[in-house]
């Protein structure tokens, strides 16, 4: 093949030296950054690597950081690292998408190109979607709502790994371990493997997440969109791509095709984002070009260069017009108004518990004003108590963390969620502060409690209470036992003022089904 090219290249055209090398270099960078993302994901553990290191990928995401800045009205020095991505985009265009974005790399790996066939790509107008989404997200952020950051590529990938892929992988490993452990000769090998892999890579306890099928399906759906066009997500939907695309319109380096192009269309066919337009002299839209350099190699005459060019990019048919932008802006405000008239605003759901301190630092507990939906807190929670919400807090709260005390409890000696949160939506409390932070208040349901209702001895809640002075007190009472004798029994009482709502009592309560002691939200607005 190379021989053919050399013969075809006319002597007068200076041979372009690096061609294939660029695309190899890109692939190396892509894989390295995907591996770093996954390693950081794995090491996002309470006893893992430093939280300020492992949440770095999220902080490099300018969409998430700017939206958070708008919504929280608080400048975080740690978030300013996202400027690096913006500056690099100003220089190199959407190279983030082609070279770094781990979701983009995943979409390249799972390209599904064999299933694609010769189907024509969707209409060019669909490229608008990502700009529209960007307008929606930034508008909503101005009004302190970050719900749609659930569509940011980094949060999607992290959430999918966290909520579905890792737990499922862990489950497979556990079953294999259990089966192999039954084979006498393999026993030691299985035990040493287990010691090596846990807790460093896989969790010691199995992980369980609510709505895992939904989150897995969303991720699978994003991958399957590749059937309709390569990198379908990046071309049409990705709001971060939209933001970087806008910046790329004034980027310094651009793709250029010089004369004498004979219109062989090889570059058009090679372009994964389909932005090389044969009708416009094979020019590309810098807002769509991911600088992947896949077009370099096929060009028989080596006419394609990526060189400096200081000008505004050509307008495109799918650009969002001023009118469209204003309509989207207005529609977003209307939708936000709908969020504000949800019944949940008037009466907060009784069990809407948030990670320690989050209720206090977010202006709106339903939408969790500052939360970027990255799910890092769910990853570090050692007891699996932090779960992704679907509609528990209404649509506005989608993707934000909630505490489900029957799944886990807020461990007394842990403050990992606040440390790892990239935007302080969960405040970085010290352990001493966290141990006094009220998450909720526990109440005993006496009609379900073994001691109160069955008149049998059970003091698990008191035993579990981690507070040095115990927020559950035992009070001796004379009660009728089952055999009609009078016995003295210790009855649990919650000392409401002392209780911090850590939920270990609810988690460990031996009553079947709903716990006989439950943590309720600490204080709610009471309408008169």
């Amino acid at each position: 093949m190379s021989t053919y090219k050399r013969m075809d290249t006319p002597n007068k055209v200076k041979a372009n030296k690096p061609r294939r090398e660029w695309s190899i270099a890109r692939r190396v960078v892509q894989y390295v950054s995907l591996v770093i993302f996954i390693v950081f994901f794995v090491m996002t553990q309470r006893d893992g690597w430093p939280p300020a290191l492992v949440n770095l990928p999220m902080r490099l995401d300018p969409l998430v950081m700017i939206a958070n800045l708008f919504a929280s009205r608080t400048f975080l020095a740690t978030s300013s690292i996202a400027l690096i991505t913006l500056i690099l985009t100003l220089i190199f265009g959407r190279a983030w998408c082609g070279w770094i974005c781990p979701l983009g790399t995943t979409l390249d790996i799972v390209s599904l190109d064999r299933t694609r066939g010769k189907r024509p790509p969707p209409p060019e107008g669909w490229r608008k979607i990502k700009y529209a989404l960007l307008v929606v997200i930034l508008t909503a952020a101005l009004f302190s709502n970050l719900t749609l950051l659930a569509l940011d590529p980094l949060t999607i990938l992290f959430r999918s790994l966290n909520v579905s892929i890792l737990p499922a992988l862990n489950q497979m490993v556990r079953v294999i371990e259990q089966v192999l452990y039954q084979i006498p000769g393999l026993r030691n090998a299985v035990a040493s493997f287990d010691m090596w892999v846990r807790p460093n890579i896989l969790p010691t306890e199995p992980l369980y997440f609510k709505d895992v099928i939904f989150f897995a399906a969303v991720f699978a759906g994003i991958l399957l969109l590749n059937i309709f066009a390569p990198r379908f997500w990046c071309r049409y939907i990705c709001p971060l791509g939209g933001m970087l695309g806008l910046v790329s319109r004034v980027a310094f380096f651009r793709r250029e095709v010089s004369e004498p192009c004979r219109g062989c269309t090889l570059c058009t066919r090679a372009c994964p984002t389909g932005t090389i337009n044969p009708q416009k002299n094979f020019a590309s839209d810098p807002a769509e070009c991911t600088m992947c350099m896949e077009c370099l190699e096929p060009c028989p005459r080596s006419l394609i260069r990526f060189k400096k060019d200081v000008s505004l990019a050509e307008p495109q048919g799918y650009d969002v017009s001023r009118r469209e932008a204003l309509v989207t802006f207005g529609a977003t405000i209307a939708a936000l108004a709908l969020f504000k008239v949800s019944n949940l605003v008037k009466r907060e759901p009784p069990f809407l518990l948030r990670p320690p301190g989050a209720r206090e630092v977010n202006k709106d507990n339903l939408s969790l004003t500052k939360c970027i939906r990255c799910s890092e807190c769910m990853r570090v929670c050692p007891t699996n108590a932090i779960q992704p919400s679907m509609l528990e807090a209404g649509a506005a709260g989608f993707g934000a963390p909630i505490l489900l005390m029957r799944m886990g409890y807020c461990e007394f000696s842990c403050n990992a969620c606040g440390q790892v949160c990239p935007v302080q939506a969960i405040p970085p409390l010290s352990l001493e502060q966290k141990q006094q932070q009220v998450i909720g208040k526990a109440y005993i349901n006496e009609s379900r409690c073994i001691a109160w209702s069955d008149h049998e001895e059970c003091l698990v809640c008191e035993e579990m209470c981690p507070l040095p002075q115990k927020a559950i007190q035992l009070e001796e009472q004379q009660v009728w036992a089952k055999d009609n004798s009078v016995v003295t029994l210790k009855m649990p009482h919650v000392l409401r003022d002392a209780c911090i709502g850590c939920g270990i009592c609810e988690y460990k309560c031996p009553v079947n089904g709903e716990s006989a002691i439950r943590v309720y939200v600490p204080e709610t607005y009471v309408p008169f």
């Binding site: 287990d194 010691m195 807790p199 306890e205 000696s413 059970c458 035993e463 002075q469 031996p510």
Partner: protein
């Protein structure tokens, strides 16, 4: 490299699965009886092995050199050492029994079970066993010739990795050459408790069932429902489903103690937790006693330890149940106690 065809891959997969199945089948057919007996632990046959110490002659040759040969060996049921550093207390108490060599045969696989119930506090809060008591026992087991010393517990608050570190036990055990082991779920085996009155079966931790020597090292502390947690209750850390135990706690703890029969019970009362147990957290509830209680009779050890809190053995439901089942002596008038003060 040749590309593996789908057919070949499936064939290899089937072959591998087949081999594993046949292996398992052969094992259960009695080709490897030794291996089988370790898959399905037989706790009842284990009991005499755990309780009967090696012969006196063997012990004499193995006792550590520092034990004074002139001193007559104690025939006490319970030895209580008071005053001094934790390691010193353990050594003095065991010397009264003739040293660790009397209990740990050469090349024995030793399991030492502390109480590391929560990951919340350091050892000063007396919620977890004293690290130096643990370290001393690991050292002494190796001095007696143990091949391997494993230490593990299953905390109810926080995870094991964190709890091992915070308690300080990890540091001392590893420094002494022991191993802090995780307790993966697959190592819990469904085990019948034939001698149990109420609790007839449980999922018990295999490495504890299969140990040559099991040394139980609880810390003496207050407990809301059981009143005190001592040696017998400490075995709740060796089973998977502890929720099932909390009903009829006293009898079920005694039942569990028919399954786990420790060679030695060493109750750490260097610091005791007098209130707000078992997790503790306030130094006001901690009382420094500088005491270690050693016995081969877990019931006698617990009975004596109850007096540290001003209670009688009969105040504790599990001691009453265990005494009724004949698991040990609970009447302090008949328990021979030797006190060693430094």
């Amino acid at each position: 490299m040749n590309k593996l065809s789908r057919r070949d891959f499936l064939r290899l997969l089937a072959l591998g699965a087949g081999t594993l199945t046949v292996n398992q089948f052969l094992a259960s057919c009695g080709v490897k009886p030794a291996a089988v007996s370790s898959t399905v632990p037989a706790p009842v046959t284990k009991m005499p092995a755990n309780t009967a110490p090696p012969s006196a002659t063997e012990a004499a040759t193995q006792s550590p050199p520092e034990s004074t040969p002139t001193k007559a060996l104690s025939n006490a049921d319970v030895v209580v050492a008071r005053g001094g550093e934790p390691e010193d207390l353990v050594r003095r108490a065991l010397e009264a029994f003739g040293g660790m060599g009397k209990f740990v045969p050469r090349r024995a696989n030793v399991v030492i079970k502390p109480n590391i119930c929560v990951a919340y506090h350091t050892y000063e809060y007396a919620a977890t066993t004293n690290p130096w008591v643990m370290g001393a026992l690991v050292k002494m087991a190796f001095e007696a010739g143990a091949a391997r010393v494993q230490v593990f517990d299953f905390p109810f608050g926080g995870n094991a990795k964190e709890a091992y570190a915070r308690s300080g036990i990890e540091e001392q055990v590893i420094a002494a050459g022991g191993e802090m082991m995780p307790m993966p779920e697959f190592k819990y085996v469904a085990t019948a408790i034939p001698n149990g009155v109420d609790l007839r079966s449980t999922h018990a931790f295999q490495d504890a069932l299969g140990a040559d020597v099991l040394i139980n090292v609880p810390i003496a502390k207050h407990h809301g429902s059981a009143r005190l947690t001592l040696g017998m209750k400490n075995f709740m850390g060796l089973i998977l489903d502890r929720g099932a135990i909390h009903n009829n706690l006293g009898q079920r703890i005694a039942d569990l103690n028919t399954l786990f029969r420790p060679t030695l019970t060493v109750i750490d009362a260097v610091r005791i937790l007098t209130n707000h147990g078992p997790s503790g957290g306030s130094l006001d509830d901690v009382k420094k006693m500088d005491t270690v209680i050693v016995s081969t009779d877990i019931v006698a050890a617990d009975s004596y330890a109850s007096t540290l809190f001003g209670l009688q053995p009969t105040d504790l439901a599990y001691i009453r149940a265990a005494a009724k089942m004949g698991l040990g002596k609970s009447d302090l008038n008949s328990v021979k106690v030797e006190e060693i003060t430094g």
